[in-house]
Symmetry: C2
Subunit: 163 residues, 2 copies
DNA sequence: TTATTTGTTCAATTGTAATTGAATGTTCTG
DNA sequence: CAGAACATTCAATTACAATTGAACAAATAA
C-alpha cells in the first residue's frame, strides 16, 4: 500500500479533520472518513494508520466510531485476512442517519425536558419560591422557547424531504 | 440580590450549560445565558458570579462573549454604577444572527475550499500523482459533495423564512 | 499445538481549552 | 485629589478528552 498521500487527498483529509474537530468530534475520526471518502479501494487499519500517521489504536477506535454512525462499512478483500473499510459515499444517507440517530432523539428529549421545567415552575410558584411576576415572566419565556422547539420539529421533516 | 436559585431556574441553567458544552462552547457561557433568560430583571456581574458560583473573571468573559453574539444586552439600572445584563429573549433573532455570523461565512468558505480541492485534483492528475481511475473516482466524489453543498445553501434561506 | 498476525481494550500521556486569582486599568465618589 | 467600586486582562491551574503504547484476546497458519 502507498505510504504517502497525493496533495489533493492530503488537503481533503485535513479539512475533514478540522471540520470534525470544530463539531466536537475527534479530529482523527474525521481524517479517517476523509481518507476513505477519496479512496477508490477499501483500506485496512494498517493502511489508515500508515497514511495518516496515527496509532493503530486510534485507527481502530475511529473506524468503529464511523461504523456506529454508519459512515463507513466493512468489506472483505479476497486474499487478505485483515478488515478493510470503505466510506459510505452517499452523503444524503449520512445526513439522514445522523438526523435519526443524533438530532431526533435529542430533540425529543428536549421536549420532555421542557415539560419538566414547566412542572418545576409551577411547583416553585406554589411553594412561594417565585413571585407572581417572576412566575409569569418565566412562563412566557418557556412558552416562547417551546414554540421555537415546535418550529424546529416541523422544519426538520421538510428539510429531510429537501435532500 | 438573592443568593440561591429557585429549582426551575437551577435546572434551566444546568440544561443550557450542558447544551453549550455539547456544542463546543464554554459551559459557563450557556449557564449565564440560561440564568438571564429566566430573570425578569437585569443582573450585574456580581449577581451572576454569585448565583452561578463562578469567578467574576468567568462572568466577565462569558458576558462579553454573549454580547459579541448579540445574545445579551447591557442595560443601565438607575442608581447602580455596575453594568447589568439582560438576555435577548427573541430566540428567532438569536438564530438569525447566529446563522449570519457563524454558519454563512463558514458555508461560503467551504465553497471556495471545494474549488481549491478540485484544482488540486487536476494538478495531481497532470503531475501523474493520480491514476486515471483514481482521478475519476475522486472527481465524482467531490462533485457529489458539491451538490450537497448547493442544497444546503439553497435550504438555509428557506429555513430562515420558516422562522 | 505453537507461533504469528490482527484487532481491541486500558492505563498513562499529551494537548487543549475553560476557569480562576491576582494584577491592572478605569470610572465614579466624597 | 485620594480612595473605593467595578470591570478586564493575564499567567497559572485545573479539567477534560484525544491519542498512544503496551498488554490482551482472537483468529489463522504452519
Amino acid at each position: 500500500m502507498a505510504e504517502s498521500l497525493p496533495s489533493c487527498r492530503r488537503e481533503f483529509v485535513e479539512t475533514a479533520g478540522r471540520l470534525c474537530q470544530r463539531l466536537g468530534l475527534p479530529r482523527s475520526t474525521g481524517q479517517i472518513y476523509g481518507l476513505l471518502y477519496l479512496s477508490a479501494r477499501p483500506l485496512s487499519l494498517d493502511d489508515i494508520s500508515g497514511l495518516l500517521s496515527l496509532s493503530k489504536a486510534s485507527a481502530s477506535t475511529g473506524t468503529r466510531q464511523l461504523l456506529a454512525w454508519q459512515a463507513v462499512k466493512q468489506v472483505w478483500v479476497p486474499g487478505d485476512r485483515r478488515d478493510h473499510f470503505e466510506a459510505i459515499g452517499d452523503l444524503r444517507e449520512l445526513l439522514r442517519t445522523g438526523y435519526e440517530k443524533f438530532f431526533r432523539p435529542r430533540l425529543e428529549r428536549s421536549v420532555t425536558k421542557m415539560e419538566q421545567l414547566h412542572a418545576n415552575l409551577e411547583a416553585d410558584r406554589k411553594s412561594g419560591a417565585l413571585s407572581k411576576e417572576d412566575h409569569a415572566f418565566c412562563k412566557a419565556r418557556l412558552a416562547h422557547m417551546a414554540t421555537m422547539q415546535n418550529r424546529v420539529t416541523k422544519l426538520l421533516p421538510i428539510a429531510e424531504k429537501f435532500f
